[in-house]
Symmetry: C2
Subunit: 371 residues, 2 copies
């Protein structure tokens, strides 16, 4: 990989321009190299931003620079999907250390990002790059989208009685990181090995549910993406919609590889599905009368929709209903970037990804088979 930082910023921008393509005046846009990107006149725009920080969100021991590019892109596309929008382009901010290994990684990241953007048909409209302290690479992607027909769909549109739907199996990304970090012991059978490979890949190469967003926009009353885990995100949707909710524990879809790896520990399996985070599936609230038609359409498009419960009235509370029919208060947790533990406060630069640091899921609720 060519060292993209070998010369000046201008030379770097030349490299980036070749990688990502130059301005495309026919669409009325202006790309890399000017002070700003110019978007054509048109519909409402959806804008989202995500920050990824080395040591907090990624660690090059666990993923390649190209994996990181996919994660950075897809996390942002997922925010668009969760708003019922389709991507128009991204703006990339990179703060990157300047050591020799860092420079090689930057090249791999940019090549991977160019590939990932091409695969999605999403242009890079502009960006900003600068140097950063060692071991503190930071990626800030802003994604710009336009509403899908019927979009945008916000978190706040749910009504009591709406059915809650999830678009796919949960828990794989969170458990994948645990496996990558060596905090989860994988059995030696071929089946366990395949399941471990699947969860590792789920964390390294997530895929935003742009396909499901197309089905749900205009049909769901409330929509969001599951980036912090159902445990945190479902209460967010309910709160924004001023509703309570009831979620049926046995109905929560668990990723098959998580089922396989946790088959001796149902409790851990359930907790990964609720609190693992970064699955980037969608959570929707749909009016009961719209459900049949939505499910038919989803079936035609190959999009799975799993009903997991329903929204309740504003004072009805937040409940998890077990297989035995008993309700318990919702107390599942997810990934909270501000959460600190005593151990972390003592560290100068605590890394949640580091095996020595506390886990990503706090409060003693972290599942694990090595405690």
């Amino acid at each position: 990989v060519r060292d993209p930082f070998s010369e000046s910023e201008d030379a770097f921008l030349g490299h980036v321009g070749r990688l990502f393509g130059r301005p495309r005046p026919r669409r009325g846009t202006v790309g890399i190299g000017d002070d700003a990107a110019v978007l054509p006149a048109g519909p409402r725009r959806i804008v989202t931003k995500d920050l990824l920080v080395e040591g907090r969100h990624f660690d090059f021991r666990f993923l390649s620079p190209a994996d990181l590019a996919v994660r950075a892109l897809e996390a942002n596309l997922s925010d668009l999907a969760g708003t019922g929008a389709r991507p128009e382009g991204i703006i990339v901010g990179l703060a990157w250390p300047t050591g020799d290994a860092d420079r090689r990684r930057a090249g791999g990241f940019l090549d991977g990002l160019a590939r990932a953007c091409r695969a999605r048909g999403v242009p890079v409209l502009g960006g900003d790059t600068t140097s950063a302290p060692a071991e503190a690479a930071t990626i800030s992607i802003t994604a710009i989208g336009t509403p899908l027909p019927g979009g945008p769909v916000l978190r706040s549109g749910g009504r009591p009685g709406d059915v809650l739907l999830v678009t796919g199996g949960l828990g794989a990304a969170g458990l994948g990181l645990e496996v990558l970090a060596g905090r989860w012991s994988v059995g030696e059978t071929a089946g366990e090995g395949r399941a471990a490979a699947a969860v590792r890949r789920a964390w390294r190469r997530p895929r935003a549910r742009l396909d499901a967003a197309e089905v749900l926009a205009g049909r769901a009353r409330a929509l969001m993406d599951l980036s912090d885990g159902l445990g945190l995100d479902l209460p967010r949707l309910a709160r924004a919609s001023r509703c309570g909710f009831e979620c049926d524990a046995p109905a929560i879809p668990v990723h098959p590889a998580v089922e396989r790896l946790c088959r001796d520990d149902r409790e851990a399996m359930h907790r990964w599905a609720l609190s693992g985070g970064e699955d980037f599936e969608l959570l929707a609230a749909v009016a009961p009368r719209a459900l049949a038609r939505l499910r038919r359409l989803a079936g035609e498009r190959g999009v799975a929709l799993h009903p997991i419960g329903r929204l309740l009235g504003p004072r009805a509370g937040q409940w998890l209903r077990g297989a035995d029919g008993r309700r318990t208060r919702w107390d599942a947790r997810g990934w909270d970037p501000w959460e600190r533990t005593a151990g972390e406060e003592k560290e100068k630069s605590g890394s949640r990804l580091d095996g020595s640091a506390p886990g990503r899921v706090g409060g003693g609720e972290r599942p694990g088979n090595r405690s």
Copy 2:
């Protein structure tokens, strides 16, 4: 200052929502707390992004968190001004360390940003926040704007013969940082003291030239903001316009406080004006026939315009003309975030702001009175 990180991300977002205001549905926008910000339908949008990294772009020994908020906001507004656009709103990404001093600073930064945004009438449309390693606070602001009448104005519209204009005195911000870092000795007279205060303030509290952009949009053929210094930025505009240029050294406007501090060293004064960077004045190329009317209008609005030279044909080269009329090749340099020196390569986390690190302007061209 209340600690904004004392609880969960959701509590933090509640705090941010109170600081910056909640969604304003009457404009069709959705603000803080959803997956993404929704902009109303309408004209072309201008989007720009800037990254500020602790140790590279700021150091809390030299500015307060509120100063930093002004710098972060104005640097982005300046990119909009440099494209002939007015701000519609910003999206704020913060990666912040979680130590106790860091948390107090985060509170000061957010309060300062709310104040700075109110002063400019610029709403915060959304954002993303996360934790960061110690001493690696990173601010990523995306600013969204709409073209001014006659805008957007790109770097690439200049033609041979166009007059080059600068909107104000240069060099103060760069020298201000030097004074703040204790690398420039200030004399003990009251006049030197006032000049030193002015240059410190120029670096801590820059102000984007939105006023000048209103005058120049639709009247300049090419436009950009001077963030890296005329030395680097003028060749960028000329290259984008496929022109050479000639700049008259005595015509380059020097900030009066820089003149005062450098009065015994004309050479240093000239170099600060060319290479100091971060002045956030505008550089424009204007057709000669449009000049008289533009200057009249600028005069009415109280916007100074200083002619510094002209664009030449594509093969005419890049020239600086001295007071004696002799031309020398343009070789002035500015702030290049990728520039490394031997000293910096050896450091694990070299800081350009640190007194022990090499200066921001490389290649032995950095002006200074303590070498």
